[in-house]
Amino acid sequence: MKQLTLICGAVLTLVFFAVAGMSFLWTPEPVDIVNIPARLQTPNLTNWLGTDHFGRDILSMLMVGARTSLAVAIVAVVIGMGLGVPLGLIAAANSGSWLDEVISRTNDLIFAFPSLVIAILITAISGPGAINAIIAIGIFNIPVFARLSRAAALPLWKREFIMAARVAGKSKARISGEHILPNIANLLIVQGTIQFSLGILAEAGLSYVGLGAQPPIPSWGRMLAESQTMITLAPHVAIIPGCAIVLTVLGLNLLGDGLRDRLDPKLRSTRT
């Protein structure tokens, strides 16, 4: 059962990555060619998943859209990890000091912000677009990783092997990098997959309200927004991109769950 979760998650995630990667080399049809006579076709042999209101091939749009989702979500996770993990490690290394206090309270504060509201605020004010979506989603990943790495690193500082490293004269920064970080890497990887899937949902939401990647770059959220008025004429145009989002997010969540069980048996079945 647990193996199955991991395998399903890994397969779905791999398909997602493969589809996004393949879109660079090949798509069934170019995504920027408008072919009005062939619009709103149901799935058939030439257009496997049908066509949208401009006659564009939905499969091709999905493939290129996967690339957009992937890029936004991954860079947002990288921002969150790149800034959050060092902050968390610094806070843990200096636990109880004013530095720890400032970092922890700032985390609490960002946590209290309704993230989507602020993401909308940022993208709306600095202009819609993929870059701003990345920044908006990335900022809210920072406290997640900072909190997690602080909480995971704190108990490690009391362990003998860290004491030994301190006695050997290593600096706090070196200990954090050489001993603490490898020991919390598992947790960070699991949280990374979860934030990755949340990033994909957030990107879809932002581009649905028109604040994500701008036309002509295809994105799953905007495909849904454009299909909304045509849902009675051609339900598949609205259903297919949604299924793509669900499968991708599901795959990443299952992968995260499976990895967590695999990497940390203590956490088994208590996960929320």
Binding site: A124, V209, R271
Partner: protein, 314 residues
Amino acid sequence: MITYVSKRLLSLFVSLAVASLIIFAVVEIAPGDPASFMLGVNARPDTVAALKSELGLDVPAFQRYLAWVAGMVQGDFGTSYTYRSPVQQMVLDRLWISLPLALYALALSCLIAFPAGVLAAARRGQLRDTIVTGATQIGVAIPNFWFAMLLVFVFAIKLAWFPAGGFPGWENPVAAMKALTLPAIALALPQAAILTRVMRSALIDILGEDFIRTARAKGLTAGQALWRHGLRNALIPVLTIIGLQFSFLIAGGIIIEQVFYLPGLGRLIFQAITQRDLIVVESVVMLLVFAVIIINFLVDLAYAWVDPRLRRRT
């Protein structure tokens, strides 16, 4: 308890002050000033300057910040640049849609999550548990605005049971509730999935405790032990999550309101952003953040009240 409350109160005020500074700063660095935006590209510089001073935009930023905060403390949220009407009135009008929507969704999410979580925990590892857990996996993976579109397609367009969008006003409570039903279901789905998981794992943790074994040993059935002793103890983490979910419901509501064309706070924010009505944007965002911070504060207090150990920790 008193020291705990005063400490938390202090950090509450600091949070609110910092939050207001951040929001003000973010809005302040926005390109495009409202006066020239309202008058269009062909406006003469002196007209723009006149409107600027009329809107109070010609004073330095920190003075405007202080005036904004001072106004909010007294319940005055300023005057909308575009509509020239008091912001608090605009917010109050919209709040009567957004707040009931969030509460409706919260109620639905609890109604689904409580039985589902209990069912899964009581039958841990069995088929019912697997089905419930699998359903929660799918529930968190579905973007709620897409789920909303599907609900509209099935229940509004095909079956015509509910309206597809818009809001008739509270004069007709039945029609109003009907208009909010599909949005509330869409909003509740991911939250219900998360809450079910929390409920399940909290119950599973509790059912492993010694006092449950004692309850069983004195002759209660598994079901009785769960209902009388397990559920009450499992509610503590569940209540915390419910408090936290409120912020997600507010944020999620913004996008759901777009799907259903509901004239709530979300639409107000979007309108205000496109019209560069910065004072409305600032005030609505501040109000949402305020609500979230206050709710988290109350949840913390409730937690400390229930569990005295937490008071000593901070």
